[in-house]
Symmetry: C2
Subunit: 204 residues, 2 copies
């Protein structure tokens, strides 16, 4: 909790949204390789990113990446930057999606050539990230830990509809759940046990 | 629709999320003033931002801002940057929230001193922005146009729960609807009539 700040003025109004991945992420991914043809290999990478983000104290225990579904090539990677970038929006999924769109130079990945893209996330998306998925243009979402694993660690997943998987399906987006769930959930549990910041656990 | 692009390599993996408000926004807000004590004045500003964003061809017909609820001072302003920044996440509300958090140097506006903050948005939040609101720390959301006004213009608001206002209330967030709704909805209708890009209207 901070003390009161001076009231802001128009003069100081910020104009740039900016955040940077921790420097280790690119090296970490490069060491893992460029091609991840199977969902399990893709998930192993994002779970490793989630664990490394905690170990290096660069953010919360969440990792995500966007993959080209034709050849399994990694397009972008994201880790949770909420605390480090002071931005509640920067969940791992949002970071990965924004970086993929930046790289492919389109706000809708479904319209980039004939390729199809998958979002792979170490934990099922919260309500915000769930809402972001249809706008992003990915056509597959691969999830590791379940919402209840996140909640068990103290995180709030928000007001998600019970039938969110079916709702995405109706929009042409396939969800694959429980890929390396145990490994992904272990990262969450270890984070909570280690006293990590639960940045949205207001006890609603 | 673009042609196929060369398959990406790890080497080229992007590392920075970055977007900038159009240059006119700061001047536009500065001319309007610094203090907006009443919700109607706050809404008049964000509706004007939504219209100006279309007029200047810098993005979609949506505006938002964060205000200090004690004195009505503007903290940050946002306009829709989806097309201009090639990022599906950058709805006006997300831009305004991220900029407010950047300015106040905290990812949770509810923990910044004793002040309370309101998000004012020219159109009711889509499913993504709705999910983002509880994580942001604002305690009031003021809305102009309704979801159905956006849908009427061709935009998709996503899978929002029917009782979203009550769900936010349960989290301590008050929603005020229909503030200058006609004025806000007119901007949406004019945009659609003018052939503006409906960037998420995939006809689901």
């Amino acid at each position: 909790m901070r003390g009161p700040r001076p009231a802001p003025t128009v003069k100081g109004m910020p104009i740039r949204v900016s955040a940077r991945l921790p420097a280790w992420v690119s090296r970490f991914v490069a060491r893992a390789g460029a091609l991840f043809p199977r969902p399990e290999a893709q998930m192993a990478l994002v779970v490793a990113l989630s664990a490394e983000n905690v170990r290096r104290k660069t953010g919360g225990p969440f990792g995500a990446a966007v993959f080209d579904m034709d050849d399994g090539r990694i397009v972008s990677a994201g880790v949770n930057l909420v605390v480090s970038a002071n931005c509640s929006v920067l969940h791992a999924e949002i970071v990965a999606l924004a970086l993929a769109q930046s790289r492919l130079e389109h706000y809708d990945l479904a319209t980039v050539g004939s390729r199809r893209y998958a979002l792979v996330t170490s934990t099922e998306p919260c309500a915000m990230c769930l809402g972001a998925i249809p706008w992003s243009g990915v056509c597959v979402v691969v999830c590791g830990a379940r919402d209840e694993d996140a909640r068990h660690a103290g995180f709030d997943e928000g007001a998600k509809p019970a039938d969110w998987v079916r709702q995405l399906k109706r929009r042409g987006i396939t969800v694959k759940q429980d890929v390396l769930r145990t490994e992904a959930a272990t990262v969450l549990a270890n984070y909570a046990a280690g006293g990590g910041i639960i940045y949205n656990g207001r006890g609603w």
